[in-house]
């Protein structure tokens, strides 16, 4: 293809049902409509092409869909080859040109547009990206079954994802994509708000899928972890789960009868799953041993049926009660009987125990602390007298221990047998009374003050501290005694605060009311009016305050929806914008990423600019609907504010650049 670098190849292609020409160069792919102005021109760099999907051979249309990185333009470009004679060859040629680019671009070597890929990072592809790319090329070329290509990258077209057959994606990458898609879907399912946002923005084609998920890796990661969590071992004892009596007695008994089916009177049928056999092997290594020795010789079914009727099985069952079949009635079995051994019911366990445990748990040390007791405890207090219970108890302990260890199987067993000479600190921990310690010292952060030393000095000079610096003891005493005197002599003078009503007229000495106005009344009236005014002010304040908390008429559903959607979109754009602007934690210096980030920021800023108009539109709608536009404005104010800040920032940024 090197020879064709300079050359431009053109093919007749319809784009969105508008006839045009596609021109493919070594760097770009461009589409120009035949009728000028009928449609936007399309021009994309080859480097951004990540996938192409062809229609099936023999279908009516011979089309090729090219998907670009970051899903921009959304859902790629779908070209339909229109030249009736050469259209299949045309497509082939285009594909040939595109294949190397697609193959190279599709492999996620730079985490640029697809940061999420690092989450599941399957090693095979990350280690040898070049080879897998080459393989993909070979594969694609060799097969030439381009029509069978399947879309798997776009979650918005899930129907295509199941298309069988080869693809230019390597299987690992394919699986990876699939997994991721599933994860995303799960996250959305669990998170209704996010789903709404996703529907609005991605399906509403405001931003691409990748953009949407950018910065939400942690959600996917958490989901993946939850998804990857495997159920652990069932905690009940193994044999308890297929207790043969379970079916008969119903739920009352201990066994749940896992894997057991029983016809009314027929034989008991045990369904042995792989899990179950694995657990049996784990629990009873002797069975595994027997299995390894004999199973090629006898059939598996025979092996298991013999096991479940053998005495060994009877022993392995943890129950002390006899089952319906008496032990002696059980058949002799030459395979399993040789594994029979005395139950572990002696005082000393058969299992070898470590020599030492932490001293503060060491019960044996107490037993041997002083000469052996020379008296016998009474019958009820002799441990292990109930011999039949002892193997059972041992199995309980053992089982619990296994369950405990099951989670951290990679843990070194020897770690548990560590030496008793642990650090003394551990023992201190055992005896510590935490609440007797005083409150912990505040962890203060020292302020990094310039010339802190000087300041401290100045403070030192300013005064010698105390309640009132610069006063002598005596002065303080006088102040104190004065204050006390004032307090003790305090006499409320209500008259000074509120005048009494002296009556409108002055009273003459003879007792009749005189005509002239009482001067004292004047003062009183003044005060009264002032009081009334104050009262009104307070009342007003009060009612206004109440009005604030009063329940408003709910915003109409439709309007509310609009507001919400506008707000959600704006928030998402803001998030995208800021994440593009702010330095990311990793790969700070990658120019590639820098570029894509730059693009994104500009794009998001563009979206953000539209927000104000959207808000205005909503306000208008509210006016039309007869709803108080002020409230809408107020509700949207924080959103608008945040957008404005971002835009101001963007303006500054671009100016600088």
């Amino acid at each position: 293809m090197a020879g064709e670098t300079s050359s431009v190849r053109r093919f007749d292609v319809d784009f969105k049902k508008i006839p045009g020409t596609i021109s493919v160069t070594s760097t770009h792919i461009a589409w120009v409509p035949k009728e000028p102005g009928a449609m936007d021109r399309q021009n994309q760099a080859m480097e951004r092409a990540v996938n192409m999907l062809a229609s099936k051979a023999g279908s009516k249309q011979i089309s090729l869909k090219i998907l670009f990185r970051d899903d921009i333009p959304s859902n790629g470009l779908l070209f339909v080859f229109s030249n009736a004679q050469t259209r299949e060859d045309d497509r082939k040629s285009v594909q040939d040109i595109l294949i190397p680019f697609v193959a190279a671009n599709k492999n996620p070597q730079p985490a640029g547009g697809q940061p999420h890929t690092s989450i599941n990072g399957t090693t095979s592809e990350t280690i040898t990206p070049s080879t897998s790319a080459a393989q993909a090329v070979l594969q694609a070329k060799g097969k030439r079954k381009l029509d069978e290509m399947a879309d798997i990258s776009s979650p918005s077209t899930p129907n295509n994802s199941n298309t069988p057959g080869g693809t230019i994606l390597s299987p690992a990458a394919k699986a990876q994509r699939k997994r991721e898609y599933k994860l995303r879907q799960k996250v959305l399912e669990k998170n209704p708000t996010l789903r709404m946002l996703h529907r609005e923005l991605v399906i509403g084609k405001q931003i691409t899928e990748e953009e949407f998920w950018d910065g939400r890796e942690s959600l996917i990661q958490a989901e993946e972890m939850a998804y990857a969590q495997k159920p652990g071992r069932a905690s009940r004892l193994l044999d308890d789960r297929f207790d043969l009596d379970a079916g008969r007695k119903g739920k009352g008994t201990g066994g749940t009868g896992v894997g057991i089916k029983q016809n009314d009177n027929g034989p008991i049928i045990l369904k042995l799953s792989k899990e179950l056999t694995r657990e049996i092997f784990e629990e009873f290594p002797v069975v595994q041993d027997a299995y390894a020795k004999y199973v090629p010789g006898i059939s598996e079914t025979e092996f298991w049926s013999r096991y479940f009727t053998s005495q060994l099985w009877e022993r392995h069952r943890a129950s002390v009660r006899k089952s319906a079949v008496d032990e002696s009635a059980r058949k002799k079995d030459d395979i399993f009987d040789q594994y029979l051994e005395e139950p572990d019911w002696n005082m000393q366990p058969r299992q070898t125990l470590p020599d030492d445990v932490e001293r503060f748990l060491d019960l044996a040390a107490t037993e041997e602390d002083h000469g052996e007791s020379i008296t016998v405890r009474d019958v009820t207090m002799q441990a292990g007298r109930e011999r039949s219970a002892l193997p059972l108890i041992r199995r309980f302990n053992d089982h619990s221990k296994k369950l405990l260890r099951a989670n951290d199987s990679n843990r070194d067993q020897s770690l548990l047998m560590d030496s008793p000479y642990g650090s003394g600190i551990d023992l201190y921990n055992e005896i510590d009374l935490a609440d007797l310690h005083g409150p912990a010292q505040d962890t203060t952060i020292t302020l990094d003050v310039q010339e802190a030393g000087d300041m401290a000095d100045k403070q030192g000079q300013d005064g010698d501290g105390g309640v009132l610096p610069g006063k002598t003891e005596e002065e303080l005493h006088t102040i104190a005694s004065k204050s006390t005197a004032i307090l003790s002599n305090f006499n409320p003078d209500f008259g000074a605060v509120c005048l009494p009503n002296p009556g409108f007229h002055t009273t003459n000495p003879d007792g009749t009311a005189s005509e002239e106005m009482n001067p004292a009344y004047e003062a009183f009236a003044e005060q009264r009016d002032a009081q009334a005014a104050a009262y009104h002010v307070i009342k007003d304040l009060h009612s206004r305050a109440n009005a604030e908390v009063a329940v408003n008429i709910p915003i109409p559903e439709q309007l509310n929806e609009q507001m919400k959607s506008c707000h959600n979109a704006a928030t998402e754009f803001l998030r995208q914008y800021w994440s593009a602007i702010l330095p990311s934690q990793s790969q700070l210096n990658s120019s590639n990423i820098h570029q894509s980030k730059e693009n994104k920021a500009i794009k998001m800023a563009g979206y953000l600019k539209l927000t104000e108009n959207k808000v205005k539109a909503i306000i208008e709608t509210s006016v039309i609907m007869g709803f108080d536009p002020e409230r809408v404005k107020k509700a949207m104010a924080p959103t608008v504010g945040a957008v404005q800040i971002a835009l101001a920032r963007e303006a500054k940024r671009t100016k600088k650049v």
Binding site: R236, E386, L404, L427, I431
Partner: protein, 811 residues
């Protein structure tokens, strides 16, 4: 913190102090000042040990009469914790600038727990370790080994000790058991003998009760302890049983057979020695004429073969002629063993006094009381003369000899009981000959006599007057401290019925009733469901636990429990149980949660703490009564009734309740810790039972919580857990937590009160005196205080009224 208690400055290794700790220390100081014994009950988990140690160490270091501290505890874990507590205290004192100089504190335990010898330390049984150690370290072995290197294996750790100066075998400081072992390993010295030889030089020694109470060890270990020492029995609620155990002995058939074999072996050895080295036997004979004490002068390496009787009862006179010769003594032993064997053939229970036993013995075998008294020590002498090795083989013979000595020495307070069958329903005889001590005061009497201050303390020692009564001593101080709490940190509940209203009880008649078993089980299931992290359950006996565990399994109850928590059960083997405990703790720590099933009075119930997340709930299934069919117990009850007027039932309930409280108290450590305490038995609802619980628990059992059914109890538990999990400011001081200021405030208040009381007293006394004076002076101003005048009033009392006062209420 540092605070003054009277004139004594006390260094306490925390910034805060619980009020009960303050009162505890104050009372301790009073006791030490007064020089007497005391009984103190302090709630579990309120830092008893640290209070005790910090007060006593402060006391020892402040007053010039350097008194030693002998601190006795029950179990090795507890000893180790006490040592760690002491170590931390001394570190704190050093930080605070106290000059403790050459202060040394060590803990003593058996060779088995301390041995470093590459081979001997592998032995699991203490008896065997002791015996093998003796072979490597005894005087004659050392003598031979040193004069002729290589002829006899010696222990290098023991030999290394000779390079150290007496009294300075280990640098000053506090060493936990593990520390000493580590030190021994580093220096190549024997930890056991380091401690043993340092005992007279130590300021603090911590060991188990037996080292002070059991004559078999006490004589060797504790004889040199100064009389001025302060003796502390911590966790002393079980001390009476230790006392009794240390003077009791049980013989079985296999033991007698083994003893007979030993006698034969020894007699062969005697014959052999006679031919090769007859001088030796003659020397021994001469020594024995002079008296046993000299022949057996205390030797540290022989402590596994000492007399089983208390030193004051030991005879300091010549050994009777008829057992002086080795062959004669062997024949004597043979006869004695044969006699015992014959006695064991009897197929009915025999209970007799030592006197009647001796009379019968004399009648049949002509063995007299006097030579029998010497049996144990004569055997020791013989073993030493013959330079026998592997003496653990002769363990049974030693026991038989001890049995003889004890029987011949003690008369009162002892009983011989022969039980041909282990249980009532057994058909195969398995006879046990019990020589049982009934009076715990015998073993502890020398301790009270010898030491001026003995402190008996525990979390559960109620009722307080019981111990002075059964141990026969007079305490200066008897005190029980309530628990001060700013919020109710534990919730005791008494469950008397299952959700189906069937009463639950561990009473013998109903304990195996399926309804009761199921109801017990459903308590466990519901608790496992409700309570986070660890749940501990205690059963009244091993027998019951073992049977109920299998029953529960078959009922599917344990499968239910497994859904919520892991399950661990105490087993007869101590190490196995320790491992289970460790796993249990791990499960509690990693959030899996676990249930531990164990037995009250069992291994786990003593010495293992289930604090914080290791025990958020403790369930007591049933009341841990002793096996009342036990003849020994019956004899003991009879003794208590006859000698101390303690009713059988009172004692049994007291005994059961102290163990129940002990189990339940394991869940608390500190006041931020919280836990549920479930008493599952209908009998707990009765006031007479609960009254015997320690005050600090009983005070928190409300009437409403004393008779619950399972479902209600679980609802309450849920509510409690929700409440207790709310954030709570634990740093607030004043109520259950004191700062230095609070202490000073309290002291000031006490002082004021004391002054007031004194002045009141003075006033009244002064008045009385004044009255007298006034009377004498004939100046009767204050007529109302005149004694005669007051008495005149009495004269005016109606005789009928007086008569009525005298009449008892019943009439």
């Amino acid at each position: 913190m540092k605070f003054m208690l009277g004139d004594l400055p006390v260094l306490f290794p925390y910034d805060r102090l619980y009020p009960e700790q303050y009162s505890y220390m104050a009372d301790l100081k009073t006791t030490l000042d007064a020089g007497g014994h005391c009984v103190l009950e302090m709630p579990s988990g309120t830092g008893k040990t640290v209070s005790l140690l910090s007060l006593i160490v402060s006391y020892m270091q402040f007053y010039p009469t350097k008194r030693k501290l002998i601190y006795c505890s029950r179990t090795v874990p507890e000893i180790e914790k006490a040592l760690a507590e002491l170590k931390r205290l001394m570190e704190y004192r050093a930080e605070m600038g106290a000059n403790d100089g050459e202060f040394r504190g060590l803990g003593l335990t058996s060779r088995r727990n301390l041995c470093l010898h590459p081979e001997v330390s592998k032995e699991k049984k203490g008896k065997i370790v002791d015996s093998r150690c003796r072979d490597l370290t005894s005087a004659f072995a050392c003598e031979k080994g040193r004069t002729n290197p290589g002829s006899i294996p010696l222990c290098s750790y023991h030999e290394e000790l000779n390079n150290y100066e007496t009294g300075n075998l280990i640098p000053p400081g506090i060493y936990t058991i593990d520390d000493v072992k580590k030190y021994g390993k580093d220096k190549g010295v024997c930890p056991y003998f380091t401690i043993r030889r340092m005992l007279p030089f130590l300021d603090v020694v911590i060991y188990s009760f037996h080292y002070l109470l059991d004559p078999k060890v006490a004589e060797q270990v504790s004889a040199e302890m100064s009389k001025e020492s302060i003796v502390v029995f911590d966790e002393a609620h079980n001390i009476d049983n230790v006392c009794i155990e240390s003077l009791s002995i049980d013989l079985t058939r296999p033991m007698l057979d083994s003893a007979a074999r030993s006698v034969n072996k020894i007699s062969d050895k005697i014959a052999e020695i006679k031919e090769t080295d007859s001088q030796k036997l003659e020397d021994e004979y001469k020594k024995l004429v002079e008296g046993l004490q000299e022949a057996n002068d205390a030797r540290e390496d022989e402590d596994m073969m000492v007399s089983p009787v208390l030193s004051k009862d030991m005879l300091d006179e010549a050994v009777p002629g008829n057992i002086r010769k080795a062959e004669h003594f062997i024949a004597f032993l043979k006869r004695f063993i044969e006699y015992l064997k014959t006695r064991m053939r009897v197929l009915h229970v025999v209970a007799e006094t030592p006197q009647s036993f001796l009379a019968h013995l004399k009648e049949i075998t002509y063995i007299e009381k006097r030579p029998l008294k010497f049996a144990a020590e004569r055997l020791t002498s013989l073993v030493r003369t013959l330079e026998l090795t592997n003496i653990d083989e002769h363990y049974s013979l030693q026991k038989v000899a001890s049995f003889g000595t004890l029987v011949a020495t003690y008369e009162k307070g002892f009983l011989l009981i022969l039980e041909p069958y282990e249980t009532e329903h057994a058909t195969v005889p398995n006879p046990i000959f019990h020589f049982t001590c009934l009076d715990p005061s015998l073993a502890i009497a020398p301790v009270f006599e010898r030491f001026s201050s003995v402190v008996i303390t525990s979390g559960t020692i109620s009722p307080l007057d019981m111990y002075p009564k059964i141990l026969q001593f007079r305490p200066v101080t008897e005190q029980s401290y309530p628990m001060t709490l700013t919020r109710n940190a534990f919730l005791p509940m008494v469950i008397t019925r299952g959700s189906d209203q069937v009463p639950i009880s561990s009473r013998f008649e109903v304990r195996n009733d399926p309804a009761v078993v199921r109801n017990f089980g459903s308590i466990l299931i519901d608790m496992a469901k409700t309570v986070p992290d660890g749940v501990v359950a205690f059963f009244p006996s091993y027998l019951y636990m073992e049977s109920i565990v299998s029953a529960w399994y078959d009922m599917g109850i344990l499968s239910e429990v497994w859904k919520h928590k892991l399950l661990f059960v105490e087993t007869p083997d101590a190490m196995e149980t320790s491992i289970a405990l460790r796993n249990y703790r791990e499960a509690c720590n990693n959030g899996r949660g676990a249930v531990m099933l164990s037995v009250a009075r069992g291994k786990v119930s003593e010495g293992i703490d289930f604090d914080h997340n290791y025990g958020r709930a403790v369930i007591m299934f049933g009341i841990p009564y002793q096996y009342t069919e036990s003849r020994i117990l019956k004899a003991r009850l009879e003794f208590l009734r006859d000698n101390h007027r303690i009713r059988e039932n009172d004692y049994l309930t007291f005994d059961a309740m102290r163990h129940a409280a002990q189990c339940v108290g394991r869940v608390l450590r500190g006041k931020t810790d919280w836990g549920l305490m479930v008493f599952a038995d209908k009998r707990f609802a009765r006031q007479d039972k609960r009254a015997k619980l320690p005050k600090w628990i009983n005070a928190y059992i409300t009437e409403a919580h004393s008779n619950l059914s399972t479902d209600v109890a679980i609802a309450l538990a849920k509510k409690f857990i929700r409440q207790i999990s709310q954030p709570f400011d634990h740093t607030q001081t004043g109520i259950s937590l004191w700062t230095l200021e609070d202490i000073e405030k309290r002291q000031l208040q006490d002082k004021l009160e004391a002054e007031q009381a004194e002045s009141e007293l003075k006033n009244s006394l002064g008045n009385a005196n004044g009255n007298l004076n006034m009377r004498n002076g004939g100046n009767g101003n204050e007529e109302d205080m005149d004694v005669d005048f007051v008495m005149d009033d009495y004269d005016q009392l109606d005789d009928d009224q007086l008569a009525m006062l005298d009449i008892p209420d019943e009439l």
